[in-house]
Symmetry: D2
Subunit: 327 residues, 4 copies
Amino acid sequence: MRLLLNHPQVEIKQATSRSHLGEYVYQVHPNLRKRTQLKFSDPAQLEPVDVLLLAQPHGQAQHNIDQFESLAGKIIDLSADFRLRDATDYQRWYGEPHAAPAWLGKFVYVLPELRRSEIANANYVSGVGCNATASNLALLPLVKAGLIDLNAPTIIEIKVGSSESGAEGNSGSLHAERANVIRTFSAFGHRHTAEVIQELGLKDVSLTMTAVDLVRGVLATAHARVKPGVAMKDLWKAYRAVANENCFVRIVKEQRGIYRVPEPKILAGSNYADLGFDLDESSGHIVSMCAIDNLMKGASGTAVQCMNLMLGLDETTALEFAGLHPL
Amino acid sequence: MRLLLNHPQVEIKQATSRSHLGEYVYQVHPNLRKRTQLKFSDPAQLEPVDVLLLAQPHGQAQHNIDQFESLAGKIIDLSADFRLRDATDYQRWYGEPHAAPAWLGKFVYVLPELRRSEIANANYVSGVGCNATASNLALLPLVKAGLIDLNAPTIIEIKVGSSESGAEGNSGSLHAERANVIRTFSAFGHRHTAEVIQELGLKDVSLTMTAVDLVRGVLATAHARVKPGVAMKDLWKAYRAVANENCFVRIVKEQRGIYRVPEPKILAGSNYADLGFDLDESSGHIVSMCAIDNLMKGASGTAVQCMNLMLGLDETTALEFAGLHPL
Amino acid sequence: MRLLLNHPQVEIKQATSRSHLGEYVYQVHPNLRKRTQLKFSDPAQLEPVDVLLLAQPHGQAQHNIDQFESLAGKIIDLSADFRLRDATDYQRWYGEPHAAPAWLGKFVYVLPELRRSEIANANYVSGVGCNATASNLALLPLVKAGLIDLNAPTIIEIKVGSSESGAEGNSGSLHAERANVIRTFSAFGHRHTAEVIQELGLKDVSLTMTAVDLVRGVLATAHARVKPGVAMKDLWKAYRAVANENCFVRIVKEQRGIYRVPEPKILAGSNYADLGFDLDESSGHIVSMCAIDNLMKGASGTAVQCMNLMLGLDETTALEFAGLHPL
Amino acid sequence: MRLLLNHPQVEIKQATSRSHLGEYVYQVHPNLRKRTQLKFSDPAQLEPVDVLLLAQPHGQAQHNIDQFESLAGKIIDLSADFRLRDATDYQRWYGEPHAAPAWLGKFVYVLPELRRSEIANANYVSGVGCNATASNLALLPLVKAGLIDLNAPTIIEIKVGSSESGAEGNSGSLHAERANVIRTFSAFGHRHTAEVIQELGLKDVSLTMTAVDLVRGVLATAHARVKPGVAMKDLWKAYRAVANENCFVRIVKEQRGIYRVPEPKILAGSNYADLGFDLDESSGHIVSMCAIDNLMKGASGTAVQCMNLMLGLDETTALEFAGLHPL
């Protein structure tokens, strides 16, 4: 919402909400007070638009996608409904059959760093899982440069803030329980694993999820094996190539100072993905890190980035905020 | 629960819970794993005991107090139901008539530092409001020594952690909303004000409540006026007298080091109330502070302290934990 | 730094630093990576500029102000050196004589909400104390509308995050000691009090400072007395007038939702000052709150706002960031 | 200090400190106010004792060990000086030759869960690295039961609070920089790795260290491979065996509730090590977790536990505190 209000070339026609119907947007997002007088309108009253951004709970968009198609030529769905190309995969990871399997092939999975050219021509684009994005970007330089041993086990340890669990929450999301945690809430089987397998073609990959005391931010720490003979200089080359080709990718690998490695906290509100890495040359064990703001690069930031590409705008439009330090 | 499991002279007969019926106590309070195999039992199956501790939501005990009386000779009620002596006051502050006004006079309001001798002979004792306790103890030395101007406005600024809002919570209690807050959720009219008026006899007192990012802990900062001529040495004498008479009261007023003033965080799990003060001699404006753990001195710690007194045990039994540093 | 890099009409000529000499700015402020290749240069090598922003430790600028005058026609000093108009006041609050008392009268104290028209014509402008700013803005509507009893004691309870203590810190600033605190580190006598007295003309005002667990943000809660007969409608009128005249002032006073009162956390990175208030009509006791980001509206944000005014630019230039929610 | 003050069978003769010489212990550890009038004395004035606990910075005890030997029949050294049995290993991991290599063989590495019987007869006992302890205990059930593939890579992802970095800290330890972090400050080569290799006999093990926003607590998440055919029931048997034999080891593996996995926060101040695990039966990838309080089970708690064993006291003496919930 913040991004689109600032967007110099896009106008918000409607923001819909069932639970906040009739309220001012700034009552829910208090940072937007004095920035907009927009009120949340009824989803049933949705009017035709050029681009429709869907941010419903998982499992809903697939039931109404035909209706949405009639309202907008371009759709960006931020839910998990159209992320996987294969209906069998969907059933395996989400536990029930997909309601609109024919639509799966029409959607492009949107991570621009992986498929920028496809997005520019797409009408239906699926948003990304935040943990999948951190994982995919951590491994992208290795996969793209062919440095990774695709058959060796890849273990991705992901540390996440509380904004990942959404606006509803549960008893474990209450501050008194959620503060101060280091809680490995999922050792195996997180649904975003499917997006890493699909996009990177890894055979043996696992995501382990640990909640820590932070609101916005994800750090993915990927443990992989490089092919024999790969040295630090090869890695620098591979990471630099990705950073050079992608305006929102940066390498953080300093020898001094406080901020030597990627750090999600300084990315709050920004669309950057900060990458870092280290190699144990004796064993070929590489640790590759990616820090993002899960609500930006891991969700709405990437959605706006894709919208910009779909509309032929500059990729960074409305995504210029640099993040804060200290924070 | 932790306190009673550790209590060398008291045996827990039953712990009841509707929402956790049949669960092990350690499933809800994970620190007690390997310490007890007790399960939560049905409140409807309550059996006679020597001492009954009630920790129901406000407004319930007053409806069942006759039944509870038949089960236990001594009752300690941690809710707000029997804190106020006057049914009119109850209606004014709690918004509805009291269901068992005849019982109000039978209960003693329990803060031992105010009414230790009464508690020893009482059978029915009411627990304390955590914010009222911090406020009452902040002002106790001034009131007891007659140093305070009872007619001048007394403003008590109270900063609280998230454990005050109970196990249920609301949307504002979710970590993503509650973390990092400095939220003045009540400028006037907090119900605990009634306990300060009743116990200290102040005429013009207000409590302003601000939530901050902490789980356990309260700091009450009381702004009052001393009578003309009162100097620092009078204050030292008054505070020292209270600290000397009360095993759980300490004075924190250092000239050096990190911990110069009362600090709730180091009190987590302990029953101490740490007091500090400073005086503007030119105006007579005194700032008096009291830090407590709201779940200990502000609730169950004081309840156990009273139970000890009621049973003729040493006042500090099961309350020996010193708190942690760092934390 | 972030603000000036984004400033569309101002170019940064130099950023000087002794301790980080030769380092990239982004090594110290990691959010600025890929945004600037600027390096910190030697303060001794300062070259002439149109506007000079000074952000030295307190007590330094007054010794070099003549040299700085020769380098820039317009100077904005963010330290405390030129905030007080009276050299006697300076000595009283800062404990030593001022080194350049003749310069005190040449500087304008910059809070635009108090002296916008003066700033537009000023060449030498002094920055604001963050706590003074929160205090001054909390009381501004009352003072401006003449609703406050200037003779009654005004007590301002200020809660602050850790970024107030600067980049150096001390042993009490270490995370293990500073986390989870509610630490009233100053009951009376904070130096920013002088700025409140000077700017608002209050006779009996005290600032009480409490550190809480947050990095960026200040909440000032001012307790004052309104004149007899002042009612809520008068307050609404007074606050609305200030909010209408000042682009960065907002009123937050909602009946529902999570964000009913000013909350510093959602202001991180923004230049807004959010005001709220509540009145006890029976006593005339008013609680007036102001939340700001101490590093923005309380320091560099106000400095940029003044620079814009001094240069005849739009007041909000480079200050458009709306803040984040959740955070 | 807290533990020994509570120890019913041990008397503290002296507590020495150079930096706090002459100060009351409670001025540094404010939780101990009203618990002891002990002052810090001069290390140069150390008098003979039965048991000497050394808690100096790493690298010091090895220079004075002969002097210490003359003062005490039993020594427990909490530094890293005598953890490794092999002087070559010491040089490799600590970067300089050991000053008293002959003493390395006289010290027993103290983790009681690994070498309880040896400790009972030892006079010189070395403390443990906190991260090594969490790692060793996470893997102990697998190693002891012979279920782990010792040749497969073992990756231990360790998340730590800020109390690990000691009382001195550095610029990165300041609250404004250290709050909200997810900072992987060491991908490879942490010195505690040597203790894991030495004690468990693993061939290919790496520790990756990530700082998170917490004061006390460590969670080690070990990723290993079990031998072919190992199933969940084998794991349950192995973990239960270790929990049954060790009073401070607990298994946390629940299907419901908030606390389903080991969680360091509820262990603050307690000596428990909570273990959890999960197995991907298709690949043999096991995730084994251990949560401890780094200052207790990871340092002084284990030291007191060893002291109890060395003195023939009950192993849990002075270590009874159960931890807090909520926190």
